[in-house]
């Protein structure tokens, strides 16, 4: 079980963090390519949200005349559709965690990795601790925090050596 890499994308689709933990898991690509990849993924993620085939298109369900207008809509309102959560390919698995504020955490692992949900939650926790509570971090800007790097690295190393 191996965690290959982590990417963090801000809510505008910009790459703000990018770290490889395991050589040979993924192809080496340039920082510029990573930037393009982050932007592409951001767009694709938005489209995958729209593609939801089970959604009730707005206005499709005409409420019965007796019901209070609006009230029926609230009851019937489906859960907001989520975008891409897991992507599988032959060589790797990509888990995406989208926070309430639109920041995306992308964790690349090998195809057999289990419990990625837990891992990615923990990474989010570290982000909120060591990035968001750091007085020197500017929102939406690239993350350069020693403490975050250190904690993240030791956590992932623990998983990769298990």
């Amino acid at each position: 079980m191996t965690v290959f890499a982590l990417i963090i994308i801000n809510k505008a689709g910009g790459l703000i963090y990018n770290r490889t933990f395991h050589e040979g898991g993924l192809n080496k690509i340039s920082t510029n390519d990573y930037l393009v990849l982050a932007g592409t993924f951001h767009g694709v993620h938005a489209i995958t949200t729209r593609l939801n085939p089970v959604k009730n298109a707005p206005g499709d369900r005409t409420s019965t005349p007796s019901s209070v207008p609006g009230a029926a809509n609230i009851v019937n309102r489906p859960e907001p559709s989520s975008g891409l959560e897991v992507l599988e390919s032959e060589n790797f698995r990509l888990q995406c965690f989208n926070t309430m504020t639109g920041t995306k955490f992308l964790l690349f692992t090998d195809t057999t990795q289990a419990n990625v949900d837990v891992t990615i939650r923990r990474v989010y926790e570290m982000y909120s601790d060591y990035v968001m509570k750091n007085p020197f971090y500017q929102l939406e800007m690239p993350i350069r925090c020693d403490m975050f790097d250190r904690k993240l690295l030791s956590y992932i190393r623990e998983i990769n050596n298990r």
Partner: protein, 159 residues
Amino acid sequence: MVIYSFYIFDRHTECIYSKSWLPPSLSEAPPNPTPDGHPRPDRRSKAARAGDDAKLIFGTVFSLRNMVRKLGGDDDAFISYRTGQYKLHYYETVSNLRFVMLTDTASPSMRNVLHQIYINLWVEYVVKNPLSPVEHKGGEGVKNELFELGLDQFIRGLM
């Protein structure tokens, strides 16, 4: 397992076949209960919406496939992705024909199923059909009775 829809894209990135198995209550509005006789407002736009969806799906799988190739190497292949509501399965033949299927999130990998559709239905009823053209512009030659019937039976057998 529920299968929502199925698409085929040719090497010119055109959607040459699409079919939906969505129960009517989910895919479209129920028959208008009001007796005023107004035509349903989304009747016309439904086909357009399906066309838009096909374009969006192609854009998505195309981007993801390129991303996967870039990161996983040229021998890597994009298999599927899952959101909280549905799962999209992808299969690409050597001739650049792309099969896409949307299912519910709990379904297992449909790669074999897509492969079966390619071998047993596409090759048998479309490729081997002497009346079918080489290119399927606008879905020409794909929408023949044998292929559609075979596909529908095959999919309904899975559900």
